[in-house]
């Protein structure tokens, strides 16, 4: 069965088994390796992408359910080669350690700030409960996010 999906603005036809996780389609078929395959059970958030604009854990999304839907991955954030304001603030604050959690954190915060551009510290922390950073850089991540919220 073929599934037509719009991925980062480009039409894609996936012929994988319908129950294949979207994460595997992204990484193995399209070589979009930004989303990471880590826990594969929805806990760590390293695989988060946007589905029709909302963050989802791509490890738990069966590709067969995606006919006609739009997926955006971390690769789309700097589409013109220019990092997004969120990416820039993370770089300025030198937040990234190993980087494993980062694609997911960027996708969570990108959609979160769209709805709550001037969010406070507690709200940012609550938004990030599904993103585990194994290098435990949480405070610096939140500091950088707050710096961005203050600019808005």
């Amino acid at each position: 069965m073929a599934t037509n999906i719009l991925i980062n603005g480009e039409a894609h036809v996936s012929t994988r088994e319908p129950m294949t996780p979207l994460l595997d389609v992204l990484r193995e078929e399209l070589f979009l390796t930004g989303a990471k395959s880590v826990c594969r059970e929805g806990i760590c958030g390293a695989c988060i992408v946007h589905l029709d604009g909302q963050p989802v854990v791509s490890c738990l999304v069966p590709v067969g359910t995606l006919e006609g839907r739009e997926v955006r991955t971390v690769e789309s954030l700097a589409a013109e080669g220019e990092p997004s304001p969120l990416q820039q603030v993370m770089e300025e604050h030198d937040v990234v350690q190993c980087g494993m959690c980062f694609p997911g954190i960027l996708m969570t915060l990108t959609s979160f700030f769209r709805e709550r551009p001037d969010a406070g510290r507690d709200e940012v922390k609550a938004a990030l409960v599904g993103n585990i950073c194994r290098c435990t850089g949480y405070e610096r991540i939140v500091d950088a996010a707050i710096a961005l919220a203050k600019r808005s």
């Binding site: 958030g45 909302q54 989802v56 738990l60 067969g64």
Partner: protein, 275 residues
């Protein structure tokens, strides 16, 4: 992907190995639970009726495929639903809440830690089922008892909550502040008289035993008195012995029971804090 309830019921009846698929957040983890992977699914999320939320003066009807995130936005500020909004908005994490549905949460058998189940039980909700033999409506508690042995081809189509002059609260204890499954849950729905006395009350306990259930002994003790969080704590302390906690990797059984009085106090606080 089915387009109508009839389509889905027919497709499920047609193949013995077919499974209903809603948000997928339970089904997709089958390999991690060491269950055989599920190959043939009938997708429900594109069926329009299953995505509707209808709020009338007498009841609230929630389609089975309404996600946790949608529940929060659709029921925010609706009187009586405070506890359900807390349950839907604090279960799991934001990206899972975006996909996980109310129907999938109730139908995932062998899942003791559900937030929605005890909350809906305290709200006296009913569920509607559709199957090859027709439609049926039954209390959520009866459904939870039956869910492990549902005949193939039966779909949960909607959850219906009666509207009365109620206030509700949901107190859960995850091991971290958020993002974990709750170790124990107390959900409380009460009707208070003008003087603050309890006219009617339902208290349910989730995640402690294999299935959520009502805490009728505590309900009896609270009935007719002024609802007071510290009083609820003391009464709960005296009645907690009726539960036998399940041992799990997150917490031993005795711990789940030990925290119930504190959760009863928090649930009472939440009920009183409501509008």
């Amino acid at each position: 992907m089915a387009r109508s309830i009839d389509d889905a019921v027919a497709a499920l009846a047609d193949r013995a190995d077919a499974t209903a698929l809603a948000g997928g957040t339970w089904i997709m983890r089958a390999p991690i639970r060491r269950e055989p992977p599920i190959r043939f699914c009938v997708g429900l999320t594109r069926i329009p009726e299953l995505n509707a939320v209808d709020i009338s003066a007498s009841e609230i009807r929630i389609g089975a495929c309404v996600t946790h995130a949608r529940l929060v936005s659709a029921l925010a500020g609706v009187r009586g639903c405070e506890g359900l909004v807390t349950a839907a908005g604090s279960a799991a994490n934001p990206a899972v809440r975006q996909m996980a549905t109310i129907g999938g949460n109730l139908c995932a058998s062998a899942f003791p830690a559900s937030d929605l189940a005890p909350s809906l039980l305290s709200l006296d909700a009913e569920v509607e089922l559709s199957g090859p033999g027709g439609d049926e409506r039954l209390p959520v508690g009866r459904f939870l008892e039956r869910r492990g042995s549902l005949e193939p081809g039966i779909l949960l189509t909607a959850v219906v909550i009666p509207r009365r002059a109620l206030k509700s609260g949901h107190a859960r204890l995850p091991l971290r502040k958020a993002g974990d499954y709750p170790v124990a849950i107390v959900s409380m729905t009460a009707e208070l008289r003008g003087d603050g006395a309890v006219e009617d009350i339902r208290v349910t306990v989730g995640s402690v035993e294999a299935s959520p259930r009502r805490w009728t002994q505590l309900e009896q003790a609270l009935l007719g008195r002024r609802l007071d969080p510290n009083g609820a704590y003391d009464l709960a302390q005296a009645e907690a012995h009726i539960f036998t906690g399940r041992d799990g990797v997150d917490a031993p059984g005795w711990y789940r029971v030990q925290v119930l009085p504190a959760l009863a106090r928090r649930a009472a606080q939440a009920v009183l804090a409501g509008p």
